[in-house]
Symmetry: C2
Subunit: 241 residues, 2 copies
């Protein structure tokens, strides 16, 4: 049983898909399902499709935002049937497995799947450390949601079975800790007029991407926040003068 | 687009699964679907689940028996979520890919999926050259039919993308040619009183397994049938004397 990986479904619209995802997970040893703002009721339709995996449905965590869903995760992965040029660094599903196994040693891993119609939007992708695309036929790439979860879950299962035991890599900060750092940075940056008040978003996005890519350790987050706090204190003192 | 591999669904009971299988195939470049004695109507439910892959449904071949479905295939694979001790030689899905790529060079490949409830029965497994099991969690191995097809299809797709071009291996006899040989052998064996009339099945099963395992070339089938015909001719002549 894999306790490190969560499957996060974002704004899913079909209850049958949620049930089928539960079954797809359970059969590959995954148990942790998170539903972000589901657009349907998880009732009898979902339970029928879940078959022997209703326990996964019953223990699913329902949250309002992606940030809430990934707060504890040290490694956040987006999924797509397309190679996208924007957003986090992209790799083909299978070639991402070695990294994912290492990350599972360091902390929790959240894997995001977007709504049936459009997949993950840019706001969601910005929160990801990595994007996996699932290779498909060029003329028809429309994987069903539960089919996509099945492919990812069976790759994870196969990778886990093959993985040699390695040295334990250093711990990594959770997405919640990194989000706290980013918010803190934005506050301080505004306070010291670091960013142009007319177009602050673009600069912040860059910083956000950087912090996500860097895979910060908890001690590093603490260090950076200590620095930001020091800047704030200094500013307050100079204002008081 | 892969023109060599057929997905063969045996006595499927849920039309939604047939539709979902069509989509699972299409997204991984597979087009050839064969339905053996389907136990449901392939109508609006199947079409809805097929989504953009209705062309696969529309071109599906519907046949009455497995023998009919695999007649043209040179390599017949059964699938299972369990490792079985009886029947054809077993390997884990991924470790079967190299062989399957070679077989696609030689001729057509048929991959069989059994009914939802019980999977392939022994009669079906006897017709297979190989059995692939899909590794799953030990405490819950109940893969949905379309999910199983999705996992197999994406492994095939990944293997095809990775496969280096190799030397063309010798052609292999089709399942229909091998079945003709086996029937011929049985007729001759009975005619010459080779087998015990009280328990002929067991001996025939052994011979059947042997011929399936041997991966006969077309010329070898022709040779063996020539031999059987010679035996028949000799017997007729001695009867006439």
């Amino acid at each position: 049983m894999n306790e490190k990986v969560s499957i996060v479904l974002v704004r899913t619209t079909h209850p049958g898909n949620i049930g089928a995802v539960a079954r797809a997970m359970r059969v590959m040893g995954l148990h942790r399902l998170v539903l972000v703002d589901p657009r349907c009721r998880v009732g009898s339709v979902a339970r029928a499709r879940a078959s022997g995996a209703v326990d996964v449905l019953d223990h699913a965590r329902v949250v309002e935002s992606i940030d809430e869903a990934i707060a504890e995760a040290g490694f956040v992965v987006g999924t797509s049937a397309r190679k996208r040029s924007l957003g986090p660094q992209v790799c083909a599903l299978r070639s991402g497995m070695a990294e994912c196994m290492r990350e599972q040693e360091r902390g929790e891993v959240a894997i995001l799947f977007g709504p049936e119609r459009n997949g993950l939007d840019n706001a969601a992708l910005e929160r990801c450390n990595r994007l996996w695309y699932i290779p498909t036929a060029q003329d028809y790439a429309s994987l069903n949601l539960s089919a996509a979860v099945q492919v990812v879950a069976s790759e994870l299962f196969a990778a886990g079975a093959d993985a040699p035991p390695g040295d334990k890599p250093p711990a990594v900060a959770s997405a919640g800790e990194v989000a706290g750092l980013i918010t803190h940075f934005e506050e301080v940056a505004r306070a010291v007029n670091f960013v142009d008040a007319d177009a602050p978003r673009q600069a912040f996005h860059r910083v956000e991407r950087l912090f996500h890519r860097a895979r910060l350790e908890p001690a590093e987050v603490k260090l950076l926040r200590g620095f930001l706090t020091a800047v704030e204190r200094r500013k307050r003192q100079s204002n008081e003068r």
